[in-house]
């Protein structure tokens, strides 16, 4: 069995009087320590897949199993515990707490974890040794995204979920961020799932899942993924 399994997962939303199936019978498996890219146009359901996997949303039908835990059907409190212990998030808009310094943003995550990694080490790793005492508003977008990665990694999660991590960045900065994400899988054994509409990013993935209209349209296995530095857009 895979590290993460989706079995016939459906997610319906009621909008006005209509029912919209954002995810419509999706099944796939993800192996531990791999880099996976979920590709799709906007509205394809990729963010819903990420939200379901991250325990921020629950499926209407089907089963989701991650690290031997069935998270479909979990109650609010259990889902929080799951997010707390298993998941690291990297958002498109970084979502740093503006009132905390760079270091404190990372420490904040560390504070709630059972087995955290050293916050300062993480920041050094992402190249922000000299920015630790700055507030988020005082650093650039790329730097903020690196803080966000450091914060996600400091929790020492099994799974790193990234929602359009380079969406707000220029390509040079984006490459640095992607390299950090890639290294999390390579060096630290994290299972990485990146959601994006940017086809080029899929070149660095081990597995690429194509989503279209809430369904998996294609799964591609990449035997020689590119290094992040080689991706150009």
């Amino acid at each position: 069995m895979s590290f993460i399994t989706f079995e016939n997962v459906e997610r319906e939303y009621h909008v006005g009087g209509n029912i919209i199936k954002a995810v419509d019978g999706v099944s796939f498996g993800i192996e531990k320590g791999t880099v996976n890219v979920v590709l799709g146009q906007s509205g394809a359901g990729k963010t819903t897949v990420l939200n379901l996997l991250g325990g921020m949303d629950s499926p209407t039908k089907g089963r989701i199993i991650a690290d031997n835990l069935e998270i479909s059907g979990m109650a609010e409190y259990e889902l929080t515990t799951y997010r707390r212990n298993k998941i690291g998030f990297v958002f498109q808009f970084y979502n740093l707490v503006p009132n905390l310094t760079v270091l404190e943003n990372v420490l904040l995550a560390e504070e709630i974890c059972k087995d955290p990694l050293d916050a300062k080490e993480m920041l050094i790793k992402v190249g922000l040794k000299d920015r630790m005492d700055n507030f988020p508003s005082q650093i650039s977008g790329g730097e903020q995204q690196r803080v966000s990665i450091a914060r996600a990694l400091a929790k020492n999660p099994q799974i790193l979920l990234c929602d359009e991590p380079t969406g707000a960045l220029d390509s040079a900065t984006g490459r640095i961020v992607l390299k950090l994400i890639r290294d999390a899988a390579r060096d630290m054994g994290k299972t990485v799932i990146i959601v994006t509409h940017n086809v080029l990013i899929s070149e660095m993935a081990d597995v690429v899942l194509h989503l279209k209209d809430g369904k998996i349209s294609d799964i591609r296995y990449n035997s020689s993924p590119k290094a992040a530095e080689e991706i150009i857009w």
Binding site: N51, G54, M56, D57, E76, Y77, T80, T81, Y82, R83, R84, N85, I87, F89, F91, F93, N95, L96, V97, P98, N99, L100, T101, E104, L107, L108, A109, E111, I112, F135, P136, S137, Q138, R151, K155
Partner: protein
């Protein structure tokens, strides 16, 4: 059309933040309600008593004379500034009703024009009839056509009741100067024709001259002239404002004036703070919309008015609701408790103070809204339409205390930074809780103080079983020979005229007692037992304060049929109620007076001697237990006032805490969502928001204690010139206030927590800064 669409927008905006705008409205309503409500009390009392004084043609001075001759009356009426002088006979007499209540008898000639009663029904149709106090009559089930007998010069004389009336001298009708509260069952007045005195005294007699001054007359000069005209026969001059009824009403008016200002102040400030925090956020959130309006070509004025109008609507509506509710809640409910014998009255509204409070509340709402909007309006549309830069984090003072800071958890640091960035909100919450605690502490402290009157007066100071007023035939030796079984203390109570060190003449109660005083245990202000001074007088603290006398001063005391003598004030004593002077019998005789007891105090060894109590020598008696019950029933109003204070405090706490929680929460919804996604549990997130409340509750509790103490002292000081209230904030009060405030706070937190539960992570994450 232009204004109309903006108006619709403002209604929708208010609908969106209905809790905030409702809070502003509630606070504005309360502020104006308190001002107009408390004002309506004193304004009604002031206007109505003045109209009663005018209708009665009330005198300016009452000159007590032993037996005025026509010549003295003539002499007084000729004094410059005296418009009219009339003689009459005034005496407290017993009546033949159950428990022998006392009636103040006014024997007047039929032709007088001063101090006329306000007839409610009937009229004095014959010389032998009487006009009775309407309130007293009602209490005793008497009506026109019934008879009543009163004891004059030891003779019972019967009068048919021909009319019922109220008197402007008995609006606040208190018997003697030892009683503190009016009790219409025990005390009233009766007006009879002076000719009827012949039946009791054998001739017409007088003891008082009522004097009406012409407008602008110099009262001090007139007093001196009267003093010269009457000479040694003078027993005292009472000016109108020193009359017990008048002075009590005036004291009430002054006190309520003060209360209106003190109690409403907090609500005005809180209204301003709530408006500030609400409008600041609203305007910040709408910077884009302001840009759009400007780009569309709306003028500066119409945009300014648009945002100012939010506050103005709330302020106007609040002022209107306050004006409607205040006089009803406060005026209608509390005026009856003042126990004033008023003819039918209407609640009056103090229009000028309402206008002032309206202007104030509009400043607190509209003015503050305008201010919030002005800050943004300077920017050009292009700046406003641009996405707002994210708020900057900044270092705060606490971080410089590196020892403390490094030991704080990061979630705590987050709270600290967030709180210090929103100081106004913090101040608003602290002030709200301070007000809440202050009002609760004040309520309990006032209740304690009032309860302390009965306890202190009748358990600490007085220890007798019965106080018996003696018939004039009973003298000291006679009492001694009666051989009553128990501890007996003879006292003499008289009204004595004194001249204070500052030259003021006053008529005050003088109690003369043996120096060894087993049943009146006088204590000094600190509570140590004291003896009556060997030479000189003791004076109660409240009276000493009123007359500006201190220990060591010398007052002049008018002696019976003789001139004044200098008496040193040796001791200030504390008495909770019944203010006056005390003197030992030996000293009293040494200044040339005769110690003839007017009353005895008895602590029985084997139960009361009923044959003595009901016999001829006891004119009247009262048990200490009854006196305690009287005080308690008279002070019941304080519980109502206390509950009102606690309710106001609760509303204050609720509004500010709920508001600050919701503001705090919605301002940080994005941060909180991030934390939730990171895996913070609901209760951890809740504590991030609500810890700020806890901090302000703690700060407010601490600050509220002294505020409550001061409020209670202000109320106590003006409550009644016969009561000397002491009382600190007791430990129990502190515990109760903390408990009640904490219960309020927990309740509000739990409501706010329910509201917070509804964070939709997905929705909140979608939004872009």
């Amino acid at each position: 059309m232009v204004m109309q669409s903006l108006f619709i927008k403002s209604l929708r905006d208010m609908q969106k933040s209905k809790v905030q705008f409702l809070s502003i409205l509630i606070m504005a309503t309360l502020a104006v309600c308190i001002v107009t409500g408390i004002d309506s009390i004193w304004k009604t009392v002031e206007l109505h008593s003045e109209s009663m004084y005018a209708a009665a043609n009330i005198s300016d001075l009452w000159v007590n004379v032993l037996n005025p001759t026509e010549k003295e009356l003539w002499g007084i009426s000729r004094i410059e500034g005296v418009e009219k002088a009339e003689k009459r006979f005034v005496l407290d007499a017993l009546s033949d009703l159950e428990n022998s209540p006392t009636l103040r008898v006014y024997a007047v000639s039929g032709k007088g024009v001063l101090d006329r009663p306000q007839l409610l029904s009937g009229k004095l149709s014959s010389r032998s009839g009487a006009i009775l106090d309407e309130v007293f009559a009602r209490m005793h089930g008497l009506d026109i056509g019934d008879d009543i007998s009163i004891k004059l010069n030891n003779k019972w004389i019967r009068f048919p009741i021909q009319g019922l009336a109220l008197s402007s001298e008995h609006i606040y009708s208190v018997k003697g100067s030892t009683d503190t509260f009016p009790d219409p069952k025990k005390y009233g007045f009766i007006i009879i024709n002076e000719d009827m005195l012949k039946n009791a005294y054998g001739r017409k007699i007088y003891n008082q001259i009522s004097v009406k001054l012409s407008p602008g007359a110099d009262i001090t000069k007139v007093k001196t002239h009267i003093f010269n005209a009457v000479g040694d026969d003078l027993a005292g001059i009472v000016a109108r404002e020193d009359h017990r009824s008048v002075s009590n009403i005036n004291a009430n008016i002054q006190q309520f004036k003060l209360l209106a200002a003190v109690f409403s102040l907090m609500f005005f400030i809180v209204t301003a703070l709530i408006t500030q925090s609400t409008m600041m956020r609203l305007v910040e959130n709408q910077r884009g919309q302001i840009g759009i309006l400007k780009a569309l070509g709306y003028g500066k004025k119409s945009i300014l008015w648009h945002y100012t109008s939010y506050g103005v609507y709330m302020g106007l509506l609040g002022a209107f609701l306050g004006l409607l509710s205040g006089p009803v809640i406060f005026g209608k409910m509390l005026i009856p408790w003042l126990r004033l014998n008023f003819t039918d009255y209407k609640i009056s509204i103090n229009h000028s103070n309402f206008i002032i409070s309206l202007v104030l509340i509009l400043l607190c709402t509209g003015g503050i809204s305008l201010y919030s909007c002005l800050r943004l309006l300077g920017d050009s549309p292009s700046v406003l339409l641009r996405i707002k830069p994210p708020k900057e984090g900044s270092h705060i003072f606490l971080e410089y205390l590196s020892g403390l800071w490094s030991r704080m958890r990061f979630s705590r640091r987050l709270i600290a930074r967030n709180t210090s960035r929103n100081k106004i909100r913090l101040i608003m919450s602290i002030l709200g809780i301070t007000g809440c605690t202050g009002l609760i502490v004040a309520a309990f402290t006032i209740i304690n103080m009032i309860n302390g009157i009965a306890r202190h007066t009748y358990n600490v100071t007085y220890t007798y079983d019965h106080k018996i007023l003696l018939d004039s035939k009973a003298d000291s030796r006679f009492i001694h020979n009666m051989g009553l079984e128990g501890t007996v203390q003879q006292i003499r109570e008289t009204a004595a005229e004194i001249i204070c060190p500052n030259g003021e003449r006053q008529l005050e109660l003088l109690t003369v007692s043996p120096q060894k005083s087993p049943l009146i245990r006088l204590k000094d202000v600190e509570g140590n037992p004291v003896l009556l001074p060997d030479e000189g007088a003791a004076i109660t603290r409240k009276l000493a304060d009123t007359l500006k006398i201190k220990a060591g001063d010398i007052i002049e005391l008018k002696r019976t049929n003789k001139g004044y003598i200098r008496v040193p004030v040796k001791q200030i004593v504390y008495l909770a109620t019944g203010q006056g002077m005390y003197m030992s019998d030996t000293y009293y005789e040494s200044i040339g007076e005769i110690f003839k007891p007017t009353a005895i105090l008895v602590k029985w060894d084997n139960g009361p001697d009923w044959s003595f109590l009901r016999g001829d020598y006891a004119e009247e008696y009262v048990s200490r237990a009854d006196q305690i019950a009287d005080v308690k029933s008279s002070t019941r109003v304080v519980y109502i006032a206390g509950v009102m204070l606690i309710i106001m405090g609760g509303i204050l706490a609720f509004v500010v805490l709920y508001n600050s929680s919701i503001l705090n929460f919605s301002e940080r919804i994005r941060d909180l969502t991030t934390l939730k996604v990171l895996g913070f549990y609901q209760k951890e997130i809740r504590s991030l928001v609500l810890t700020e409340n806890t901090l302000s509750v703690i700060a407010g509790l601490i600050l509220g204690m002294p505020v409550g103490k001061v409020l209670a002292e202000i109320v106590a000081k003006g409550l009644n010139d016969q009561m000397d209230l002491i009382g600190n904030v007791s430990f129990a009060t502190v515990v109760f206030s903390v408990a009640i405030t904490a219960v309020f706070a927990l309740f509000i937190n739990s409501i706010a927590a329910v509201k917070m539960k509804s964070i939709d992570m997905i929705e909140s994450l979608k939004s872009v800064e």
